[in-house]
């Protein structure tokens, strides 16, 4: 479905990714794990085609979606035409808008009728009842966990088929984190394809079907979650021995 092929990208004179390749098939949960600065976020931003300075310049390689290169696609079209959504690191919800406005905004580009939008809104509220309770509040007033729910809810409202999650566990209490991953698993079972980037390798490998390990701008290991968990070098570097 999505394939990243020998991707090289640069920030100015510094090469941040040196030939990253991986694939994501429909219905999968795949994780990219690795330490801070390994290039995980850069990879996600490159897929979303975000403009500089958020995303660096692709100098070599390709990103393909359903076989076609998406390097020329504008970021908003990555979302509305290709149906790839990003839940960014730090969530980046719009704090000056209400919860409901945040969710409505994600339907900006949708051409279908308001009944369908209402139905999706109902579904998001069903998944995250807390958001329903707080729908009229400014998103700024939400707790970290609720903001994460809102960020995922937003991606669902834009009818994404593939969702890229950047450090979804960051800043969440363990209980909330497990709740979040349970909900995401449920969404995956309903057909959502997920690519998740995590520093918390243990949680990520428990959640994902397959994984790739990144280190300083390159993929250094790959395999099913079970394989990676058993890999001695992965164990040593990322799973605490």
């Amino acid at each position: 479905m999505l394939s990243v092929e020998n991707l090289h990208v640069r920030y100015g004179n510094i090469e941040a990714l040196h030939g990253v390749s991986f694939t994501l098939e429909r219905g999968e949960i795949v994780t990219l794990i690795g330490a801070n600065g390994a290039g995980k976020t850069t990879t996600l931003h490159s897929i979303m085609r975000l403009p500089p300075p958020e995303a660096p310049r692709v100098t070599q390689g390709d990103i393909r979606f359903e076989g076609a290169s998406i390097l020329g696609v504008e970021p908003h079209d990555v979302v509305r035409r290709l149906g790839i959504g990003l839940v960014p690191e730090g969530r980046r919800i719009f704090g000056n808008l209400t919860v409901q406005e945040n969710l409505t905004l994600a339907t900006y580009a949708r051409k279908d009728d308001s009944a369908a939008v209402q139905q999706d809104l109902g579904r998001v509220f069903e998944l995250f009842p807390r958001l329903k309770e707080r729908q009229r509040q400014l998103a700024d007033s939400l707790s970290g966990g609720e903001q994460q729910m809102l960020a995922v809810g937003r991606a669902l409202m834009s009818r994404c088929e593939v969702i890229l999650l950047d450090e979804p566990s960051m800043g969440l209490a363990p209980l909330l984190m497990f709740d979040m991953f349970r909900t995401l698993k449920h969404l995956n079972e309903e057909g959502l394809t997920i690519l998740v980037v995590e520093q918390n390798a243990k949680v990520a490998l428990d959640f994902a079907h397959r994984g790739y390990v990144m280190d300083t701008g390159a993929i250094v290991a790959e395999g099913t979650s079970a394989e990676l968990r058993a890999d001695p070098s992965v164990k040593k570097a990322y799973l605490g021995g």
């Binding site: 979303m48 975000l50 403009p51 500089p52 300075p53 958020e54 504008e74 970021p75 908003h76 079209d77 979302v79 509305r80 959504g85 990003l86 960014p88 730090g90 980046r92 919800i93 719009f94 704090g95 000056n96 808008l97 406005e101 409505t104 905004l105 994600a106 339907t107 900006y108 580009a109 949708r110 700024d140 937003r154 834009s158």
Partner: protein, 307 residues
């Protein structure tokens, strides 16, 4: 005495209306881009000149078309002037601000660019049309109506009504519509907006259309009220409208509107009680005191960010 008070209030409302209409444009662009568009006062000036040419053309004074009746000229001039002035604003955005934004330039450079754009508009106008002032043709009946000792004209009242309606319209757009939500979202976090499937540039262009369109409307009304145009007419009123927007709380539609009227009131009332040469001195001292008490302006809130 009481008549003169009402007279001053009416004058202040009218004078404040111009500040408000221009301040709304500053506010919209600032609200979305955090850019103080210092060319905005000059866009107002260009709007007044566009009004001059559109009205002269429609009256048949260029001899290109047979003249239309005055009501038809006015009915056509309003949308035409707004569209054409919006075009000027959008052009500035396209050729001056967008390239800088694409390169990720610091906001300071964009503000300097805005200042330069204003100077280019002023001096471009001077080079193109010469230094001689233009007299705006009379369009509406300027008979003075006196109600209870207070003098007014239809135009004076119309200016106030238009300013209020423009404010209500812009507020509705920003608060209720999806594109208004997108405008507010951009001001909060430009990064996350494309992730909602929203083309950021389209929203920014729309913002310039609104701001410049209403500056054009202000230009038309101003030219009708004070029918002498010169290339520098936008500079001072633009600065003052910007100050009005800051005092109101820049970024807040309500603040820009209130700030414009506040400045109008302060100026008119100062002149009512002091020699008119003191006007700007006292007016701006008062505004300074307001900012001193409330640095974010009347309706502004300090920006909070949550990580």
């Amino acid at each position: 005495m009481i008549e003169s008070l009402f007279q001053n209030i009416l004058n202040a409302l009218q004078w404040g209306s111009f500040y408000s209409l221009i301040a709304l444009g500053y506010c919209l662009v600032y609200g979305v881009l955090l850019l103080i568009n210092f060319a905005h006062g000059d866009i107002f000036m260009v709007g007044a000149y566009i009004s001059f040419f559109v009205v002269t053309f429609l009256l048949g004074n260029f001899g290109l078309i047979p003249g239309l009746p005055h009501w038809a000229v006015l009915a056509l001039a309003v949308p035409l002037v707004m569209i054409l002035t919006a075009g000027v604003g959008v052009t500035l955005e396209r050729i001056a601000y967008r390239p800088l934004r694409r390169k990720g330039a610091h906001r300071l450079y964009v503000v300097i660019t805005a200042l330069m754009c204003g100077l280019i508009l002023e001096n471009g106008n001077l080079a193109l049309l010469g230094a001689s002032r233009r007299n705006f043709p009379a369009l509406v009946d300027e008979t003075v109506i006196t109600v209870g000792g207070v003098n007014m004209t239809v135009l004076k009242l119309a200016v106030i009504v238009v300013a209020v309606l423009s404010f209500l319209f812009l507020r509705k757009v920003v608060v209720k519509t999806k594109i208004g939500m997108a405008m507010r979202a951009i001001s909060y976090d430009k990064f996350a907006v494309p992730l909602m499937g929203i083309p950021v540039d389209t929203v920014i262009v729309f913002t310039f259309v609104l701001g410049s369109g209403f500056a054009g409307l202000a230009g038309l009304l101003f030219a009708m009220t004070y029918p002498v145009l010169d290339p520098y007419m936008g500079a001072m009123i633009g600065w003052k409208a910007f100050i009005a927007a800051v005092v109101g709380g820049i970024g807040s539609i309500r603040g820009a509107f209130a700030g414009g009227f506040l400045l109008g009131f302060v100026e008119i009332m100062v002149v009512a009680f002091f020699p008119s040469t003191f006007r700007d001195l006292i007016a701006f001292t008062i505004l300074l005191l307001i900012l001193w008490r409330k640095p974010t302006g009347l309706f502004g809130v300090a920006r909070r960010t949550k990580i």
